[in-house]
Symmetry: C2
DNA sequence: GTAATAATAAAACAAACGTTCAATTAATTC
DNA sequence: GAATTAATTGAACGTTTGTTTTATTATTAC
């Protein structure tokens, strides 16, 4: 056989991306074979090469789009206010919502960096650094304004990001806690961790913002 | 050739473990070939099978010994006092020290769980759960005693562990910060995160820290 | 309806994989 | 010093890997 009835390049490519993210998240990049991926999509392995020249190109595409999506989400969510607490709350909300929503690509982007070529690794890390820099700026501003008490901005930023991203390791939608509850708790922990001066600030923020991305699911 | 001069089973096995931890941490379990590992050790691939029947046995051994080591280290470090703050401080210190000291096997144990068979995965996860349970007990005791203010014990435990273990992602010995400095800062962050009631409690525990109080605001 | 193009299948490739086996030599035992 | 055991090599096995090539069919354009 050859071209199949109803076949469509765009649909196939999208199916490949989604299946790849799922398989790599579950089994790992090296462990996922192109034949396994093709079977998941419902095509032959050779068909994959119409969309991605190599396996690594596929991996890189997933990672690049993950980082572009994260950056874009933050640019949408970033508040205009200069208030460090409000900005930090927005950062936490956006980060958790995005990563829970895209668990698979988050796993891929965090665990499979070592499978990228040097150049591509550099490109992904540059995007990641730029994103983290936003958090450091918030922490620095807050410290200088006296609303946070932080010992080391860079170290605190890393600790916060590890803590927040770690949600995807144990969080499963539909279990004990909702996304909104998790986000609220993480927001409180974050505010205490950075020593936010105003007591109950976290609670105030979580009460005042029932919208936001998908945080309002309950 | 056959047996080489000065060859010793115990030494070779130790060399295999160490080289395997390093290679798996750097390239991943699936990406590391037995030939690559053998070359690192300085033997032929077939020689590895004298010590580990399969590649997965090797992985499992690394993980089991990592968890056994972590458990043993905590049993040594666990204080006899009932004071939740002292116990939490000891837990944080032990966790960070152990994971920085064993970066490679930590990477292996955290990233390669999916390559274990079902039974072995269960065994490793059981050990891990038991270790994490200790932290939850401390947090619960502290909350009941009124010295911590925590919203969700289980969630806080996961957040803390992710935060602490995340150190190995960015920490490199001999760079900007020493192990002692990192530990001190993480201890402060932890105490604030759990809402330790006694103001300055974190500072008290880190009284011996080698740098100033609000040193790095930049 | 016919020509052009897009999408896929089927088969094949060399390379690399984990693992096994027989042969061989070093160290140990008595 | 002969017999035994421990440690390792070198070659080979059957699979599986990512990828390429060629042929074939569905869809689109005119």
């Amino acid at each position: 056989m050859a071209r199949t009835t109803g076949s469509d390049g765009e649909k196939t490519e999208a199916a490949v991306r989604e299946a790849a993210a799922g398989l790599i998240a579950r089994y790992g990049y090296e462990a996922m074979s192109m034949r396994q991926l093709a079977a998941e999509v419902g095509v032959q392995a050779a068909a994959l090469y119409r969309y991605f020249p190599t396996k690594e190109d596929l991996l890189f595409t997933l990672m690049r789009e993950h980082m572009e999506g994260l950056t874009a989400a933050w640019e949408m969510a970033r508040p205009t206010t200069a208030d460090p607490e409000a900005r930090l709350a927005a950062y936490v909300r956006n980060h958790i919502a995005f990563h829970i929503e895209r668990r698979h690509s988050t796993h891929v982007s965090n665990m499979e960096l070592r499978s990228l070529s040097h150049d591509r690794l550099t490109r992904i890390l540059r995007m990641r650094t730029a994103y983290e820099k936003e958090l450091r700026a918030i922490l620095r501003d807050g410290t200088e304004a006296g609303v946070f008490s932080i010992e080391d901005t860079g170290l605190t930023a890393m600790a916060l990001i590890q803590m927040m991203t770690g949600v995807i390791v144990w969080f499963r939608p539909g279990e004990r806690l909702s996304v909104a509850e998790v986000t609220t708790t993480y927001l409180s922990m974050t505010m205490r961790l950075v020593g936010a001066k105003i007591e109950g600030a976290a609670a105030a923020y979580s009460a005042a913002r029932p919208f936001g991305r998908s945080a309002a699911g309950v």
